[in-house]
């Protein structure tokens, strides 16, 4: 009865040239064979890659698959040998299971509700308008990543958290460094410790002089400074990089799909659906990792306790069994349920904020610059390597008529 399970022999490190929006072809091929494949991690540890929508979704919802950092000892492409990994530092709840995860997530949940985030829309409009003014003043051409895609989410999350204005560049630089997937371990560690030290000071300052922001509010509970620092780090990194990449890649994708862009321009009512479709189509959070806590039967195979698992969200979001014509960007697509914000207890806390930012900023950009276009051929736009867990473009040269 048991069919041989497909094996993925190597984890792709790049996307196919000319296809910056599509998951690497090797992973899409694997999904065509079966929704789960065997895969040997770089240090020789046997594990799995899940590529199909239903299976990815069920693993994300299943607490027998752990997010704990100390289990993440195996890397798909880098052989670290037989290393020990310490548990996640206090407050860094992305890499924790219950009940630790809940201790940190719970006090944050009320701050990111649909209603609260909608109330922020006006502020996001103002921030966006300021960036567009600056672009207009400087004139074309420009790099959309530095002029638009990064500053908007950066300003928004810094305001929410209460990071003083003058410190924002410091942050953006360092966070870029450690999320870009392209620097030596040394540079990475330095960027990381720099942010850590800054946040420790910030938490102490908020405790001494609370202001009107999330971080100050949190000092009211029973969380220690160490824990607050970790939580702030998660919020800052999550709030900066993912949305920035959605804005830049989203613009790129719309420019490459002129009929879709025209449809969005003609019917502003399309914007909510457009944002969901771009989230699905681009899946900037392309890969997540889990470790099995016990033996689990899944999709006809037995995953052993301790087995490492790569969840390929980008191929799950292109699964034809769930999304007809999955590789087409179709802003009118109705069937929801994309996994771009993950699923299960870790589903993105900031998703309603991201939605507001995308819904405001993308149409505003095309309104202000109706002739916006790439300033270089599309295949010269450099994308991040697959080693970056968040997909994106390094820069997006654009121009427009004045």
């Amino acid at each position: 009865m048991s069919e041989p399970v497909h094996t993925l022999t190597t984890m792709p490190t790049e996307r196919r040239p000319g296809c910056p929006f599509d998951p690497p072809p090797e992973l899409a091929d694997a999904r065509r064979h079966s929704p789960i494949s065997r895969f040997t991690f770089a240090n020789g540890k046997p594990g799995w890659v899940v590529t199909g929508y239903d299976l990815v979704r069920s693993v994300l919802a299943d607490t027998r698959f752990s997010s704990r950092k100390e289990f993440m000892r195996h890397h798909p492409t880098i052989d670290y040998g037989d290393i020990q990994v310490p548990p996640a530092p206090p407050g860094e709840f992305l890499l924790m299971d219950e009940p630790q995860h809940g201790r940190y997530r719970k006090p944050l949940v009320g701050k990111f509700t649909v209603r609260r985030m909608r109330q922020l829309a006006e502020r996001v409009e103002r921030i966006t308008a300021d960036r567009l003014d600056a672009m207009e003043q400087a004139g074309p051409p420009t790099d959309l990543v530095t002029a638009f895609a990064k500053p908007i989410p950066a300003i928004v999350i810094c305001e929410l958290l209460g990071v003083p204005y003058e410190d924002r560049d410091f942050f953006q630089d360092r966070i870029d460094t450690f999320l870009g997937g392209e620097v030596s371990d040394e540079v990475l560690t330095e960027a990381y410790t720099g942010v850590q030290a800054y946040l420790a000071e910030l938490v102490a300052a908020k405790r001494a002089n609370p202001t009107d922001d999330i971080l100050s509010d949190l000092t009211d509970g029973d969380l220690t400074d160490e824990e607050l620092k970790g939580m702030a780090l998660i919020l800052l990194t999550a709030g900066f990089d993912t949305t920035a990449n959605m804005l830049a890649l989203g613009t790129f994708a719309l420019l490459e799909n002129p009929a879709q862009l025209a449809a969005l321009r003609a019917d502003p009512g399309l914007v909510d659906g457009a944002v969901e479709e771009l989230l699905r189509y681009l899946s900037v959070g392309a890969k997540f990792y889990r470790t099995a806590l016990e033996d689990v039967e899944l999709g006809g195979v037995t995953i052993g306790a301790g087995d490492p698992i790569v969840l390929s969200l980008s191929t799950a979001n292109r699964d034809p069994e769930h999304f007809p014509e999955p590789d087409a960007l179709d802003l009118r697509r109705r069937n929801g349920g994309h996994l771009a914000f993950s699923h299960g207890i870790h589903q993105c806390l900031g998703q309603q904020l991201a939605r507001v930012e995308l819904r405001v900023a993308l149409p505003a950009l095309f309104d202000r610059f109706p002739t916006l276009r790439l300033a270089v051929p599309a295949d010269e736009v450099e994308v991040r390597p697959e080693a970056a867990d968040i997909h994106g473009v390094k820069s997006l040269p654009v121009t427009w008529d004045v």
């Binding site: 994300l60 919802a61 997530r105 719970k106 944050l108 949940v109 009320g110 701050k111 990111f112 509700t113 649909v114 209603r115 609260r116 929801g336 349920g337 914000f341 993950s342 699923h343 299960g344 207890i345 589903q347 993105c348 806390l349 998703q351 309603q352 939605r355």
Partner: protein, 73 residues
């Protein structure tokens, strides 16, 4: 239809309030789900069913009709 809610499982991601705003809201304090209409009908019921399917934490369910609640749904 009737909606079952297990608030202890809710992680406050807000998929429900986004998908079926007539049926669900989120508590302004703890962010967790609040039911505005436990027995929605028509378009609201459809949206609520979608929300049940989308809820990431399994906090929402559709309660099958029983003799006691059948006349109320």
């Amino acid at each position: 239809m009737r909606i079952g809610v297990d608030r202890s499982r809710c992680i406050g991601a807000g998929m429900c309030a986004l998908t079926a705003p007539e049926v669900f809201d989120q508590d302004t304090g703890d962010g967790r789900v609040l039911t505005l209409d436990a027995a929605p009908e028509g378009a609201a019921a459809e949206a609520a069913r979608r929300a049940v399917g989308l809820c990431p934490s399994g906090a929402l369910s559709e309660v099958p009709p029983t003799r006691e609640n059948r006349d109320r749904t």
